[in-house]
Subunit: 192 residues, 2 copies
Amino acid sequence: MGRKAYFNSEEFIDSAIKIIAEEGLGALTIAGLATRVTAPVGSVYHRFPSRDALVAELWLNIIESFQGEWLKILQTDGIKAMSFCMEWVRNHPNEARVMLLYRIDDLTSGEWPEDLKKRAQKLSGELQEGIAAFTKKQFGRVTKENIDRTFYAIHDAPMGILRRYMQDKQIPPRYVADFILETYNAVMKKAK
Amino acid sequence: MGRKAYFNSEEFIDSAIKIIAEEGLGALTIAGLATRVTAPVGSVYHRFPSRDALVAELWLNIIESFQGEWLKILQTDGIKAMSFCMEWVRNHPNEARVMLLYRIDDLTSGEWPEDLKKRAQKLSGELQEGIAAFTKKQFGRVTKENIDRTFYAIHDAPMGILRRYMQDKQIPPRYVADFILETYNAVMKKAK
DNA sequence: AGAATATTGGAATAGAAATTCTATTATGTC
DNA sequence: GACATAATAGAATTTCTATTCCAATATTCT
């Protein structure tokens, strides 16, 4: 019961992502967001308790969507996981920009609702586990150095180059996959 | 003539770098900075026309200091350039944190004094040139893909993994140099 | 129809930080 | 010692946004 909603959370989130992707984090103001959606600011606050909550939600949505699939693929095949990574960025330019150019610490002032914190911890835990599991499969022994090695080949190096294209507002060319793959082969082949 | 200065620009810059490195960009306020240096806010504005100018200056100082030396070494030896990169980060933890975790676009609102803009353009130009020159030496032919390849091996991949340690407020272990070197050898050996 | 309520609308408020402004205080010069 | 001026001091002001608040409006339920 009650009045029919003109605006929903998703709409606000999507527009917020676009604003950040196009004009940077500083450009994301509640008033600006409302204007973009042609909604009153009250409607934004009707959906989200605070700006921080909105941004945290936005961030978690992106990471959950990317990381969930990525880690699943990683369980079966490291090389496929890297291609996925490339293609995901090519297919989700706005989300990729937000994910690759901003760290959550700088997006918000850190005053999140409790449930969002839980989701963030879960994500972080799953990433650690996923990498650890893959390290075990690949090297047998799970040492700090081996984990770092895996993290580098699978995550840091790919994200490193993709970030540059995001910064230049470009879609990464397909040949970037070669660089990533060559790195993977060189770094992951020999156990330590 | 005139009164003796208690505070100088460098002092403000250094403290600002520490604040950003330790507590994040959001923690850098003029009042907070002044307090940290036990100076009045007026003295900050006596040295810098605006917060943006201060932050731009700080950023340019860091990049000029790192990139200048790095590019010089790169002219003679790619592998040495990578070791330098590692060591620089280990030796300048605060500066490295600022350099690796923040992009200048997000540090300031973009309203810089003209001379600072010039310095930024110069830096960017030198980086492009340095990479292009190295690409030429390495591959002969300077194609877009070859440049991207060099950029990746020399810059994106190393910075990618170093960023992760900066994020965790850790000093990167020396074995990271191995990963970077293995990447370099794998990616830079074959011309395209 | 009338009651209950979810939602819109948007003006008013609050708060935090940058910036300005006006003394005041040293320091070197004539 | 008086003058010019570079710098300190820090209170007052401005600005920019998040957030609050309350009235107006639809929509469903009984």
